[in-house]
Amino acid sequence: MEKLEKLKQELKKINAEAASVKDLPVEKRAEFGRKINAKKQEVLAKIAEVEKALVDVAAEPIDVTAWSGTNEALPGFYSTELGSKHPLMTELNRVVEIYQMMGFEVMESRQLDDEYHMFDSLNFAKEHPARDGYDTFRTEEGLIPPAHTSTMQHRALKKYKYKLEQGEPIAVVVPGRVYRNEDVDATHEHTFYQCEGIFVSETCTLGNMLGVLREFFERYYEQKLEIRTQPGYFPFTEPSVEFMIEKPKVLGGKKGDWLEMLGCGMIHPNVLKMAGIDPDKYHGFAWGGGIDRLVLLRYGLGDIRVFESGNLNFLREFN
């Protein structure tokens, strides 16, 4: 309290001093004004700090070991009707569950990573323009909030390499949050979710990759599906392919409607080599696709911005 009084006195003094500006020659007034204002701001900040502390001092202690307040009823839970799960997380779980059934392990993606995992270990040449396509954010330290879940590929390969020695394939999916430096609009978010898949064995083929992906989408949409591909380009796969499915009936798909679902390809031998896997002996394939779009499609939503809005009028619809 005393401290506050003192500061307020100081402020008064400064104000009085400020009033004396009119006694100064014109050319000195600006300089004087700047100085006095800086002083004033400093004191005001201190006052705000002290006042804040005073507000906090006013808090009454409570018995935190108890289960209810004195003379209050024991608190209850809110009713189940109010509860909800985030649709993106529900979808991510749905996707992962199918892959788990198909024998894939789950490894979650990091949210702050480095240049090595994001690019180098994935066979991106140093300073190659392909790196620009990812519009990455960067921290002062040069760390990268990853722009794709492939940032975990190198780790996953190293972690599960022992399986190859046991004669089993590496089969992992990596769900996670990724980031792109993009302006936000109805169809673009700087923050979104992906799920990566990785499979390595002695005998796997591009035909196996198409088989796994078709199987996944058939289970996901619970119907038989036609698939289609397009050549793609990713430095970390060779060949690289864009994977499409016919638009499923539940989404109102008609003959000739196609949905681009994900990018995929046979893992580049350099990527295997960097993880200590002999590319002459083993092949692999990998893919990555967005989760947000699956949710937009499932519920017929048109605006991706609702997901991170925290708006309960929207979220409680997903009870």
């Binding site: 209050e72 608190p75 209850g76 509860g83 799960k85 490894m107 300073e127 088989g211 397009q230 060779e238």
Partner: protein, 795 residues
């Protein structure tokens, strides 16, 4: 990139329908973003002959009688100064749409109207801009009488009934060759299973320039022979020999320079096929010299730049051209063709005349040496540059020219000489070659890849024969030698993307169609569960059952948000290229983000809610892992808030966290929070918060927020929350759950005490060591120091 199907057909015999072609290109080469149908863009536009042209005095108008191939002449008023009797012009007939406006919301339909109050004008004679084949609006276009006659449809003469493919450039990042029509056509040929015959390097005529027949060559311009027979790496032909220097061959692997002298007039009188190709490809005709360079770039993918030779020499104050390619000096300035002034940096490559910059290499030419109508001599530069430098130039100066788009894909050096010769050939009516230099000190090595048919089939999961593979690769210019032990594949010069066997496998798979590969499931095994993932699933189910709402909020927050929550912003990793100040710092915990959303929801208004988020957080104080990446924490943040409630919110939050931990079979103690110094505890009021302890370890904090924090977030008084460390909870989680099935008798016990609940409970537990004790109400009479605490005891 825009690809005209009519132009494409000049190089490939396409027998499939347009739809099928587009499908195949999509499936086997590149994403086609759009097909722009221009098959009716030039409907009702005719070639006409101006039979009479009578100037109307004191106006800019001319009254024309035109022959449009019908019985009677038609009257059209024309404002162009170049209209004259006997010329062939393009006439937009009444009822036709002006081609430049077809893609507008309200296309402009030409009609018949009266001008100057008395002259009927039927339709209009068109300028290049109206036809969407140029920017010229000064005069109407004139058509070569050798190409057409009155009454012909303009579209038939110039093959304007076309479809244009809009190609997604991004999916061709690794294919510089496909940024020229020849390379694109080669791929289309390969996709269709046909051998690509056109060989620009060896026998390429400028077939597309004159439709139907090969152009006539000027014998003096057959440079190629002189070049091919010369053995010196620096090939010279001429009298006006420019001196060229490349400061560093890594920034400019090859430089071909041709000097051309004017010997006649290139009268640009008539609309040409090249004009239409430029227009359809998204460029505009400018002048014969510039058009030739642009056309060759569209054809071959190799950019060219033409300088005014005399201006070039003048800028450098030399007798002959002294051209140096070097890195720019920091702060050097250059005015570009489009009048923009750029301040160069040490990464930019510049073309200099006697060390004075005259062009930003690969990006844009300079104003000081620009070609104009008075240009007498030309200096033509055909070079390749480091894509890494140019990529930075592109970013630094925001230049996205057609040339730099091609260079940043990595144009290979093999064809600069040929392209330069072609350019000389195209300009031969007005210019003859006076000097030529080619600097190419380290020629690219031929790439040879060895592979077997089995390796190809093993990776693709196919059963392709050696013959099919050989033919498929041969169609697009690979040379294959089969020695019985495998295939030796010689990669053509233009394929900079092929280095390893997998690249060859991709070619085979792609050209034959991945869609023809049978999808087959591989054998699979059982997977282990990810415990963290499973635990989060349990938490989500539990939370929903008890009325809580799962939120996802951004990983990046503002300085202001952290300050409002009382956190130290220096403990956050900072994003240097964030989109907005709201997203500058990597968050340290979840609760501050939820407080922000709590305010938003109270305002909606939502009267009461429990919101939570499980996500990853980072704090600088946590340091780095063995992998040298920041240590991360999986955290669960939770906030409960009500707009109208006078009770103590703390107990609601505690109930949620306690029951949740019970669900996970984690036994926790709630002890008064001594200090809120840790990042996750900072928003909490120590006097009204508890530390959550499990086996002596702190796993989180539950409590109400500091008054100051609550004020900052403008929340109603009833607000509390918790933040727990999910990694720690997971290590404590167990699947053992003790269920006691014996019937218990319940009695209530009320103690009057000045102790807190936990201490009072201990006393009761001593008395009933085997009983299960649940909390009852707590009552305190007014003015009393002691409280009555009730326990439900089940024995």
């Amino acid at each position: 990139m825009r690809i005209s199907l009519n132009w494409l057909r000049k190089f490939v015999d396409i027998k499939v329908s347009d739809d099928e072609l587009v499908r195949l290109i999509g499936a086997r080469l590149v994403e086609v973003e759009d097909v722009i149908d221009e098959t009716h863009k030039y409907d009702k536009i005719y070639v006409v002959k101006v039979v009479e042209a009578e100037k109307i005095p004191d106006t800019h108008l001319t009254k024309c009688m035109i022959d449009c191939g019908r019985d009677e002449l038609v009257q059209v008023m024309c404002g162009a100064p170049n209209v004259h009797e006997g010329m062939l012009a393009a006439w937009i007939a009444p009822g036709a749409v002006v081609p430049a406006s077809v893609h507008e919301d309200a296309p402009f339909v030409i009609g018949t109207r009266k001008m100057l109050g008395k002259y009927d004008s039927h339709g209009m004679l068109a300028a290049a801009d109206e036809l969407d084949i140029g920017e010229d609006h000064e005069g109407i276009i004139e058509i070569d009488p050798e190409m057409a006659k009155a009454g012909d449809l303009l579209a038939d003469v110039f093959e304007l009934n076309d479809k244009i493919l809009d190609i997604e450039n991004k999916s061709l990042t690794h294919r510089p060759d496909c940024f020229g029509m020849i390379g694109f056509a080669r791929e289309v040929s390969g996709i269709l299973g046909q051998k690509f015959e056109y060989d620009f390097l060896r026998d390429g005529s400028l077939r597309p320039v004159v439709t139907g027949e090969a152009p006539s060559f000027d014998a003096t311009l057959r440079l190629r022979r002189a070049v091919v027979t010369s053995e010196s790496p620096q090939k010279v032909y001429s009298k006006l020999l420019p001196t060229i220097t490349i400061s560093d061959n890594t920034i400019c692997p090859r430089l071909t320079v041709v000097v051309m002298e004017k010997h006649g007039e290139i009268k640009k009188k008539y609309l040409t096929y090249i004009d239409t190709v430029l227009a359809k490809s998204g460029m505009k005709p400018i002048s014969p010299i510039v058009d030739a360079t642009n056309y060759l770039m569209l054809l071959t993918g190799q950019p060219l730049h033409a300088y005014d030779y005399d201006k070039f020499v003048k800028v450098g104050k030399t007798d002959k051209a002294v051209l140096t390619v070097r890195l720019a000096k920091k702060g050097e300035e250059l005015v570009l063709l489009d009048d923009t002034e750029v301040v160069l940096n040490e990464n930019d490559i510049v073309i200099t005349s006697n060390d004075v910059p005259v062009g930003l290499a690969g990006a844009k030419g300079g104003k000081s040496t620009m070609i104009d109508e008075n240009t007498r001599n030309i200096l033509l530069e055909v070079a390749t540059f480091s894509l890494y430098n140019l990529r930075k130039t592109q970013m630094a100066h925001g230049i996205f020219s057609e040339a730099i788009t091609r260079y940043t894909k990595g144009q290979p050096p093999y064809q600069t000489m040929t392209v330069a010769e072609k350019c000389a050939e195209m300009l031969s009516d007005g210019f003859k070659v006076a000097g030529m230099v080619d600097e190419y000190p380290n020629p690219e090595k031929q790439i040879v890849v060895k592979i077997t048919t089995n390796e190809i089939n093993d990776l693709l999961g196919t059963n392709y024969s050696t013959e099919l593979i050989t033919k498929t690769l041969g169609n697009v210019g690979f040379q294959i030698n089969n020695d019985g032990n495998g295939l030796t594949v010689t990669v053509p010069e233009w394929r900079t993307d092929i280095h390893i066997p997998e690249d060859i496998i991709e070619e085979v798979g792609r050209l034959l169609g991945y869609d023809n590969i049978e999808p087959v499931l591989p054998p699979h095994y059982t997977a282990e569960k990810n415990k963290m993932f499973e635990m989060k699933r349990i938490i989500r189910d539990w939370m929903a059952r008890y009325g809580a709402n799962e939120l996802l909020t951004y990983s990046f927050v503002s300085e202001q948000l952290l300050k409002k929550a009382g956190l130290d912003i220096k403990n956050s990793y900072r994003i240097v290229n964030s989109i907005s100040p709201d997203l500058q710092l990597v968050r340290q915990s979840i609760v501050p983000s939820l407080l922000d959303k709590a305010y938003m929801n109270e305002k909606l208004p939502v009267d009461k809610f429990a919101i939570y988020e499980m996500n990853t957080v980072y704090r600088k104080e946590l340091g780095f892992t063995d992998e040298k990446v920041p240590v991360e924490k999986k955290s669960l943040g939770f906030v409960v808030a009500e707009r109208k409630n006078n009770e103590t919110a703390y107990y609601k939050a505690k109930k949620y966290v306690a029951k949740l931990l019970e669900e996970l079979n984690v036994v926790a103690d709630y002890v008064p929070l001594k200090s809120n110094k840790s990042a996750e505890a900072k928003p909490f009021e120590a006097k009204r918060s508890a530390e959550i302890k499990v086996n002596g370890e702190c796993v989180g904090v539950v409590g109400e927020f500091k008054n100051s924090v609550r004020n900052e977030f403008k929340l109603a008084p009833y607000a509390a929350g918790f933040e727990i460390d999910l990694d720690k909870v997971l290590t404590q989680m167990s699947h053992k759950k003790q269920i006691n099935v014996k019937n218990r008798k319940t009695e209530d016990l009320t103690v009057t005490t000045d102790k807190n609940y936990a201490e009072a409970l201990k006393d009761v537990q001593k008395k009933y060591p085997d009983a299960m004790i649940r909390p009852g109400t707590i009552y305190q009479a007014e003015g009393q120091k002691t409280r009555n605490i009730t326990f439900h005891i089940e024995k």
